[in-house]
Structure formats: structure tokens, C-alpha cells
Amino acid sequence: MKRVLFALFLLGLPVPILGQPVSVNVASLLADPARYDGQEVSIEAEAIGDRLHAKHGTWVNFLDTTAAIGCFFPTSLAKDIRLLGGYELKGDAFRVTGVFHAGCPKHGGELDIHADRLELLQKGRPTPHPISQAKVALAAGLSLASALLGFKISRRRTKGV
């Protein structure tokens, strides 16, 4: 047994130590769901999109640097998530802890995390969207050029060529 554990340790496989959630990134959850099935895991990720209603809870999708995953919350807990990311802003970043399911029996076999703890890592903030002067110049130049061509074509039409 010890040898097995040691081998697992060498392989870098996460051996769940009592009470300690496995810290993972989302991509590894998606890539090998069976390995983490039923374990308590924690991810560090940004809340994105919308809060989605479900029976007895709320869904919020979380995106880390690798991929996104759906997390199921008790609705009261989901209220702590204030800013959800999108085009305008980067959402609140949390450490989300909960039980991972490869095929969740409550949610039609979905691959999800039933979260029970949230730890705010960084508050969400608006994403700056500066306008590039060069692009404006490019767009204006192209518009002018196509207007010229349009003018030329209309003259060809009237001349009946």
C-alpha cells in the first residue's frame, strides 16, 4: 500500500489528504473526469456570463486560464458573486471549492462542481477597450476608396458602357 501511494506521489497524482480539497485547473477536470469524480476540488477562476436558475440552486459558469466549467451553488451562496465577466468587464475571481461530478446524478449526467465554499480572490473590474487611431484611419481610408469606386461605377452605368 505504501508503495502504491509512493508511486502515485511520484506520478504526481493528487492523493487526497483528509479534508484537503484537490487544487486543480479546469482543463485537467475536463481531460480526466473519472480521476476526480466525487472528490472535493477547488479551482481558481473568474465568474462569467449569467446566473442561471435551476431547481434548488443557481448555476454560475467559471473560467480559469484553461477552460470553463459549470458550478452549482445554493442560491444564497451564489449571491456573493457580484460581477460576472463578459465583454465589458472581467468578473470576480474566486477560489471555488466543492464536490466534482464526472456525470452528476442530479443534473442529467452533467460534468459539474457542486460548490459549497467561495473565497474572493480579486474583485471584478471593467475591461478597458481603447479605440485604435490606426484602425479608424484604415476604416476611413477604405470607405473613401470604396466611395470613389462606387462613383466610378455609377458613371459607367449612366454612360451605358
Binding site: 456525470g103 446524478p105 442530479k106 442529467g108 449526467g109
Partner: protein
């Protein structure tokens, strides 16, 4: 312009004129309905087939 004197007609009627001659809204609605019905029946068939096969495989996972 003759159209100026005619009463204004909806764009829907105008575009459908000729191509859908004699096809009323009810007929189209029934057509759409039967297409949707067909898809739902097919989905139901797959649901039943799936359930039966999984049961035949002798494994009945937890859940619904």
C-alpha cells in the same frame, strides 16, 4: 404608379404573393407543427431506445 392608388398591403403578403398562392396561414402552421411533431417523436424514440439498451446492459446508474 398603380401601387399608389392600391390600399397598402403588408410586406408579408407582398413577399408571399405568387410563391405561396392559395396556401393559407393555417396550412403553413400545420406544416410547421407536423415538422416539430416529427422531431419530438424521433427524440422520444431515442429516449426510449436508450433507456432500454442501458437496462439490457444490466447497469442502471443512479439518478432519475
Amino acid at each position: 404608379m398603380p401601387s399608389a392608388r392600391k390600399p397598402a398591403r403588408g410586406w408579408l403578403q407582398r413577399t408571399f404573393r405568387g410563391r405561396w398562392q392559395g396556401v393559407g396561414g393555417a396550412k403553413i402552421a400545420l406544416g410547421i407543427l407536423s415538422e416539430v411533431l416529427f422531431s419530438l417523436l424521433l427524440a422520444l424514440l431515442l429516449f426510449l431506445l436508450g433507456s432500454v439498451v442501458i437496462m439490457l446492459r444490466g447497469v442502471w446508474p443512479t439518478g432519475l
